[in-house]
């Protein structure tokens, strides 16, 4: 019923949209690091926005995808996108007018939390709770604000399955106002100064449609688990967390949150980019073109331009300092759509990922074939005294024409 091929990648803006929601790839290292950071702040009631952000995007997307479909067909549609996007498996057959008690043993969030962080003392799959609340609302034409959803068991806690209970009742997550449509900034792009950019981008773009959930509903690739993420979900989670930290500790809270959000991006850059650059696809399709460390960075940026994160490019690049730019980056597009203008740059993930990339290329022996994308490798690198610093200088949501970030020693 759902076919990813019906949604072509927008090569002009390096963007993928499915039924009103911008989509991009994220890896489990980023997602679990981000969620752990948020849950570390136990003095914030983060479940409100962890569930609410998911419910909001899924409600919007499923409302569009299920137009004209029967109840039965709508359930299949919801199950299919959940699986194809890499979140695991859900069976909505027993959902009815009163809700659902759903059990599953395939959950991206619970599985990868345990892989990366070990057992949790409380359930971690807030996304699926939000997804199910939204699916119920769309399929049975309920208001989100009359739905209660609770995860009662979790694989990450040592249970043998995840259980989510969706009922009519007091809403226990945040409901957000309608969003604006996505507005791109149309300016002339500074292209990547590398003659093989187009070949490398196209090689990976052609593989795009094959990166969908397998029989377990997971997308293992490049040594990580990927999800096709509704961009506004993960971005709203970041923005709401930073906002909550400001309420707790003012500008200091924002600074602290920003550093940890960049760290999550850093983990993404280290593990996913490391995985890509040691993959067989990279060795066969990209490595023959690489003559210098700068080529490695430009090639990786050419690949990342297929992930739905916008158009990345390099303005300045050396071991001591790099200036990266991104046209129509996914974080700023989300921010403007949901919140309008920002007084400060908010592209923590992109900036952290750029910093992770610099670390990988210049502070490890990856280019000579050493595999370093292990948890201990990451810790070792982050303990290094010669770590790169990150300075977010420009952002679309601040009124600039693009995102810009300096990464320097």
């Amino acid at each position: 019923m759902f076919n990813i091929n019906d949604y072509p990648f927008d090569q002009e803006h390096n963007h993928l949209e499915i039924a009103g929601e911008a989509m991009n790839f994220h890896c489990h290292h980023y997602i679990t690091n981000l969620q752990r950071t948020i849950l570390d702040a136990t003095y914030i009631d983060s479940a409100l926005f962890l569930i609410g952000s998911a419910a909001d995007v899924v409600y919007n997307q499923l409302s569009n995808l299920c137009k004209g479909l029967s109840v039965k067909e709508s359930k299949i549609m919801a199950q299919e996108i959940y699986k194809i996007f890499g979140y695991g498996l859900i069976d909505l057959q027993n959902m009815n007018e009163d809700g659902i008690e759903l059990e599953t043993m395939k959950s991206f969030f619970s599985k990868t939390w345990e892989i990366k962080l070990g057992q949790s003392d409380k359930p971690v799959d807030y996304y699926t709770s939000g997804f199910l609340a939204a699916a119920y609302a769309v399929i049975y034409q309920k208001d989100l604000q009359e739905i209660n959803v609770v995860q009662t068991t979790c694989l990450a806690c040592g249970d043998d399955r995840n259980t989510h209970v969706v009922t009519l009742g007091d809403c226990n997550f945040t409901i957000y106002p309608p969003k604006e449509s996505i507005k791109f900034k149309e300016v002339e792009k500074l292209k990547i100064d590398w003659e093989y950019e187009e070949q490398v981008t196209q090689a990976f773009l052609n593989a795009h449609v094959t990166m969908v959930g397998n029989e377990e509903g997971f997308i293992p690739a490049f040594g990580v688990y990927l999800i096709r993420n509704q961009s506004d979900y993960v971005n709203r989670v970041q923005f709401e967390f930073e906002k909550a930290m400001v309420e707790v500790a003012g500008e200091y809270g924002s600074t602290l949150a920003g550093e940890l959000l960049i760290e999550a991006g850093h983990a993404c850059g280290f593990f996913t980019y490391g995985g890509i650059m040691t993959s067989k696809e990279w060795k066969s399709r990209v490595k023959p073109y690489l003559k210098s460390k700068e080529d490695w960075i430009k090639a990786l940026v050419s690949v990342v331009n297929t992930m739905g994160w916008g158009y990345h490019t390099t303005v300045e690049l050396s071991q001591d300092k790099a200036v990266f730019r991104n046209y129509n980056d996914f974080e700023d597009l989300s921010y403007m759509r949901m919140y309008g203008k920002s007084e400060k740059p908010i592209h923590w993930t992109s900036s952290g990922a750029f910093t992770g990339l610099m670390q990988l290329i210049y502070n490890t022996d990856l280019v000579n074939g050493e595999r370093i994308e292990t948890e201990e490798g990451f810790r070792e690198m982050r303990r290094s005294k010669v770590g790169y610093k990150t300075n977010m200088t420009k952002g679309l949501s601040c009124g600039d024409d693009f995102l810009e970030v300096e990464v320097y020693l």
């Binding site: 136990t42 707790v248 809270g253 550093e259 940890l260 850093h266 810790r379």
Partner: protein, 76 residues
């Protein structure tokens, strides 16, 4: 006035044995306590300082949370 104790050695130990960005994680977990003690430490300030003296109750909180986050007992 309560006794002051130096938390810099605890952070140095946590950096050596713990996860990446562990200083910010410990501060994040204890943020309301840091605010109550009018402390606005960042990881950069921690790395640039040689000594960070705080009241002994905050010292104990930092020690306990660092041990919990690292997953082993602090040893100087």
């Amino acid at each position: 006035m309560s006794e002051k104790k130096d938390i810099k050695p605890i952070f140095d130990w946590a950096i050596e044995h713990g996860d990446s960005n562990i200083v910010n994680r410990v501060i994040m977990k204890l943020l309301p306590h840091f605010i109550n003690h009018n402390q606005k430490l960042t990881s950069d300030e921690v790395s640039q300082s040689t000594k960070i003296e705080v009241p002994s109750d905050l010292y104990m909180l930092v020690k306990d949370m660092s041990e919990k986050t690292v997953g082993s007992a602090y040893s100087n």
